[in-house]
């Protein structure tokens, strides 16, 4: 895994903080994906900073949680961990409720992503012609179809992961561009943002193509572009990702992730 080079925060911490800023007051959403502690921390941090009325449903176990005015909050690697009941859980939904309840956002990890934010979690073709199995769709084919928006976090930013053509499309992002989601009758608006250890990308409003929004402190635009195989819109001015503030880092480390799970 790549780290946020020589910065006073880890990649996991930076991702959690950047993602937390995307989550809105009053929203309901579910952290998930391949390292679910990152989006879980993002949602808890949002509750403790700008979005005290945001509610979390840990989708795999139906824990409905808010950290606001709660004494303390362990962070664990897995959203299914029983110990998450101690982190502000106020109700436990039945499994049917987990799938019936509307969400403003979901998170997705992926082995591959393309320029329209379509993702592959199923299988990757190797150079020797064999296929390498990923873990499978989990619930992402569902959430990508139904949630108002979703966020993609990639642990690797390389030509192997940001690809022109997916080896397998497990979940539809913006499909083949404007009109795809409408034609398929997909409910939500699709992917809103992609974060990698190199930078933050969103999607151009007209073309729905991946667009570089910022590079992280310590990363270079040229290197990011060189490591991206899929189409990527690079605006004339690309700022650095707003660095974590001392307030954000302080709340993250003392109230969300005391044990340093995101620093491992």
């Amino acid at each position: 895994m790549q780290t946020a080079d020589s910065q006073p925060w880890s990649w996991g911490e930076l991702a959690a903080i950047v993602l937390s800023r995307e989550l809105g007051e009053g929203e309901v959403g579910s952290p998930g994906g391949s390292r679910s502690e990152i989006p879980l921390a993002a949602a808890r941090l949002a509750q403790l900073t700008h979005a005290p009325n945001l509610s979390i449903i840990t989708s795999a176990v139906g824990f409905v949680a808010s950290l606001v005015d709660k004494p303390w909050s362990p962070l664990f690697h897995s959203t299914m961990d029983y110990r998450n009941i101690y982190a502000g859980t106020e109700a436990v939904m039945a499994m049917s409720g987990v799938f019936h309840t509307k969400r403003d956002w979901f998170f997705a990890g992926a082995m591959q992503v393309d320029a329209y934010g379509n993702i592959n979690l199923s299988t990757v073709r190797l150079k020797d012609g064999t296929n390498m199995r990923g873990p499978g769709a989990a619930g992402l084919a569902y959430s990508s179809a139904m949630a108002k928006r979703f966020f993609i976090y990639m642990h690797e930013h390389s030509k192997r992961s940001f690809v022109r053509k997916l080896d397998y499309m497990t979940a539809v992002g913006h499909g083949s561009g404007p009109g795809t989601r409408e034609k398929l009758g997909l409910r939500g608006g699709g992917p809103a943002l992609v974060i990698s250890p190199r930078g933050v990308m969103d999607f151009d409003e007209q073309t729905l193509l991946l667009r570089l929004r910022s590079v992280h402190p310590g990363q270079s635009i040229d290197e990011l572009v060189a490591q991206t195989d899929c189409e990527l819109i690079v605006p004339h001015d690309v700022p650095f990702t707003t660095a974590p503030s001392s307030k954000e880092l302080n709340i993250l480390r003392h109230r969300v992730d005391r044990g340093g799970v995101l620093r491992k």
Partner: protein, 304 residues
């Protein structure tokens, strides 16, 4: 004078129902509430050609059955070890064609199992429209909704012949009470029962029926859905029994390390940890220690 029948039995007796080629559903999710003592019993019996359905996620339960050569097809939306890595046996056996993979999303498996629970031929979902899931899995059919014409996906009913689930406690009539989350176990039991299959439950503890009847709101699954109940203390180990004891991270990490090395190492692991232990009691006595179990029990409290 006729009497009420106890459904309490041994794992060995319960699996008289499980034949080669059967569809086996496994409850719990990821590292939680997995009926591992029953999984190990299946390995010891050497059942073959199973179609394994795991709802919603699987880890060591299904990977171990694959390694032991019990599985022909998997219908599992997520098979991996989350932060502890990918499923090595799943990858090896699917790469060389020994294992068929029925690609699916959680909500597609749920649609199929719900259809079985309702005694319907298929379930309809939005999930998978426009994806390669419909290409690689011919059982998933692209359809137009007959009312609106909207593109949808139909999933054939999934009818388990046998399902295995794990609960914290139960009574001899087969009532099950979960201390933590029941995941999709209620639906699995409903679908299996409705399809004429057999539901086999392991529990950490069988308690007097009066204790269950004293608080029926805590009974998660009613005895009418359960065909056999097997007492297996710490029976989910190395997975958690949600709310009773934590999963054994070190044990799973060791499994992962051996599984990654290759088939010979994996087979040696299976011999040591499963095949040569003739029963769950033998597993407890030889694989675990009281202090280890006490630590797993204590680990359910998050005290930072």
């Amino acid at each position: 004078m006729t009497q009420r029948h106890s459904r309490q039995t041994s794992a060995a007796d319960a699996f008289a129902w499980l034949h080669d080629g059967a569809t086996l559903a496994i409850g719990g999710s990821l590292f939680h509430n997995k009926p591992m003592s029953l999984v190990r019993e299946i390995v010891r019996r050497g059942t073959r050609r199973l179609t394994v359905v795991a709802m919603t996620q699987a880890s060591i339960d299904v990977d171990l059955l694959i390694a032991a050569g019990c599985v022909e097809e998997v219908r599992v939306p997520y098979l991996g070890f989350e932060y502890l890595g990918l499923a090595s046996n799943f990858r090896r056996h699917s790469a060389d064609g020994r294992l068929r993979v029925w690609d699916c999303d959680e909500t597609q498996v749920i649609a199929g199992v719900e259809a079985a629970a309702k005694n319907l031929p298929s379930g309809i979902t939005k999930t998978g429209v426009g994806t390669d899931l419909l290409r690689s899995n011919p059982d998933l059919r692209a359809i137009d909704d007959p009312i609106t014409g909207e593109p949808m996906v139909a999933v054939p009913a999934i009818r388990p012949d046998v399902s295995i689930i794990h609960a914290s406690r139960g009574d001899r009539w087969g009532n099950l009470a979960y201390a933590g989350y029941p995941f999709s176990d209620v639906l699995i039991a409903e679908a299996t029962h409705r399809s004429g299959g057999k539901v086999i439950a392991s529990v950490d503890e069988i308690v007097p029926p009066s204790l269950i009847a004293a608080d029926p709101f805590r009974t998660t699954i009613a005895h009418i859905l359960v065909d056999a109940i097997v007492e297996a203390p710490w029976g989910a180990h190395p997975c958690s029994s949600h709310g009773s004891y934590q999963y054994d991270e070190a044990y799973i990490a060791h499994y992962q390390a051996e599984a990654r090395k290759g088939e010979a190492e994996m087979n040696a692991w299976l011999d040591t940890h499963v095949r040569t232990l003739e029963s769950h009691d033998a597993y407890l006595d030889r694989s675990l220690t009281p202090s280890r179990l006490a630590a797993l029990r204590k680990d359910i409290y998050a005290d930072s």
